[in-house]
Subunit: 339 residues, 2 copies
Amino acid sequence: MAAENQSQTSQSDLPCVLILKPPPSFALFGDHFLDSPKFQYLKAYESPLPLSQFLHTHAQSVQAILSSGGAPVTADTIRLLPRLDLVVTTSQGLNHIDLSECRCRGIAVASAGTIFSADCADSVVGLLIDVLRKISAANRYVKQGLWSSQGVYPLGYKLGGKRVGIVGLGSIGTEVAKRLEAFGCSISYNSRTKKPLAPYTFYPNVVQLAANCDALIICCALTDETHHLINKEVLSALGKDGVIINIARGPIIDEKELVRCLVKGEIRGAGLDVFEHEPDVPVELFELDNVVMSPHNAVFTWESFEDLCKLVVGNFEAFFSNEPLLSPVALDHLPQFSG
Amino acid sequence: MAAENQSQTSQSDLPCVLILKPPPSFALFGDHFLDSPKFQYLKAYESPLPLSQFLHTHAQSVQAILSSGGAPVTADTIRLLPRLDLVVTTSQGLNHIDLSECRCRGIAVASAGTIFSADCADSVVGLLIDVLRKISAANRYVKQGLWSSQGVYPLGYKLGGKRVGIVGLGSIGTEVAKRLEAFGCSISYNSRTKKPLAPYTFYPNVVQLAANCDALIICCALTDETHHLINKEVLSALGKDGVIINIARGPIIDEKELVRCLVKGEIRGAGLDVFEHEPDVPVELFELDNVVMSPHNAVFTWESFEDLCKLVVGNFEAFFSNEPLLSPVALDHLPQFSG
């Protein structure tokens, strides 16, 4: 009993990290993966109180927030928390956090950094090969027992020699380029500014990039500028032999227009990990063999999840020990991607 | 009429290339893709005669054979054709041709050479990423509308850092190694002899290779020595976290044993383009999400098919013009692979 009391006392003395909604990883693994002896979690979603009331009640305790893509950190939330000094997100993308408000208040932000870049780039290549070479569709064909009754399966397209255009040459875009070079693809890119060290052709706008590539890979962050960046004009420049891959954020593409192009055969195919209204996916895509989809899990593997847990906990522990964050976000220089 | 007669006369004077069964590409594209003004085809499969009688009838005409994986060129066939001097196969694999008989008779053999190596290597990477990252399975999940109702999908495994073991470091194996290095995999291999120039770890036998890798890639030729090379012992050395990819020939793996391992979870998954009794596929595999299959089309794309047609016709034309073959097979040094 004495030990229990002592534990309770020391527990309540620990600094508080607010969680608005459980990150997706909690559902997969339980929440003890992010436990630490150096801080405690305050779980808003476990309280019967409405959020604003919950925040009022704990306003003086919350020093940090653990955030994830599905749980926005709005200016309203931030304003209710006068002692908030840190937001750590389990994502590489930051579009769910009001960064201006953080900047004004001097609140530090830490992200998943480049932890997902390799997995994300692997997914890009996997989706691209799948769409070009019809791997998922052929797998379905074989598993339906059609090979022996219906014979040869329609040919796919070669990856080698394809012109690949990358939108957003950040850490993921760079990893994608490195991989696709090994397949004999030629790489070009568009980003806000030309990268002096990148050995790839730069196109100052996305329409030009799309007009000069066979596969367009979306790796940029979702911002006001990139919302619906991939619109009718871009898709039309990509053309009927073009393929598009999106592992960044759904709203970067005008999804309605993309669906129309895919249904009409105005582009050759798509590999999509993200959607405008996740987890809702346009039903028109369900029947299309030239569309390969994944449920926003391009960033995640067992191995990267383990790395992420260490990074998230490490960021909070560093912060509460007055040490430098492990993966701080420079709020004036937002990264190219969103993972 | 005069022109037609003339055409018929000159057609019948052209040297004869026997086709026993139409190559798979004929079914896809029609047979005019391999036409040439310099020779004519004699199509055994279009004649009502039994094969031996057909061969007797045309014994003095046949100077060459166009062969493919599905149409064996046996010693019996060869012996019925005293003027046969050349066999051209549309495959990289040669296991359907009696090479000893060709060697004895001084019959030249030409193959698809390395035309399929890049496509094959791309398929290996596509299948490997698919199995590890569950791309086909996740695609099915999304297309069945399960994402919004059932939530997050089970995590896959990271490709980066995996130890990849290649069985047969020929042209395809080498292309696979080149690609997977760009993903951060470490490469080792087994082949009949150590390759002095290959910068990868050599294991003198397949069991050792399997025991030291996370993914085993089968890229060797099917010969008497490699038949059922991948047996219970090798699969057990690969172990429950191991993945196997086969784009070479079905009978290199003891398929019954592989199916048992997959059903029992004794290996993690498989990507299979080839099977022991194609086009029949073990039905036990139809229900397994960790098995991705393609209908022996890893070698083929529109682009490589076009290259193949040029090469096949080019080989015959060179031969009938007494020029060197474009892709001769050195019968004393059979290549590592089978495509």
